[in-house]
Symmetry: C2
Subunit: 118 residues, 2 copies
Amino acid sequence: MVKPVVEKIDNVEAMPLEGGGDIRWLITHRNGALNFSMRYITVPGGKSTPAHRHDYEHEIFILDGEGEAELDGSVSPVSKDSFIFIPGGAFHTIRAKTDMKLICVVPVEVARMFLDNR
Amino acid sequence: MVKPVVEKIDNVEAMPLEGGGDIRWLITHRNGALNFSMRYITVPGGKSTPAHRHDYEHEIFILDGEGEAELDGSVSPVSKDSFIFIPGGAFHTIRAKTDMKLICVVPVEVARMFLDNR
């Protein structure tokens, strides 16, 4: 039977993220998640998240910091309490002006792809 | 074609939540989300999230405040930067000691069920 998890982010390994930030995979298939995976990402001021597109979606919540999101050529300011939906296929990057922290949720297949092929 | 969304939580309707908090459905099928739905929940100190079980999972991130999570009879303290995985079928409630804010992600079918049957 799959067990609940209650944990703090500091107890999860931070891995380098292309663009200069880092990523913690908080909840994945390894915990028994069947559908989606929650990640915690930090991006230092002046750095950015990967600038790319892929066929799966992101749902993002900005925890702290200020920056801008470029989504399919449109640039919008983002800060604490902004949320972002990036549908599959949309080009995206978030550029941090100050140190940023955010939550980014993806389909659980993405966790399998990244973590089981390291 | 599904468009990206960049928005602030204040621009989303807050609906009352059983137990004394409120809930904003930030990203749902109405935005074109195919797999999961992100909600923002506030729970005033002394109140709690619904105490129940259901067949779908939750992935929760605590944004602010202090409280305790009861998960299948086990009680754990939670606060800012705690995350919680609640697998389908697990009994769960979060009791707020101080005013709490949290993100809670569910399968998108749950958004359809709640929002399209109001």
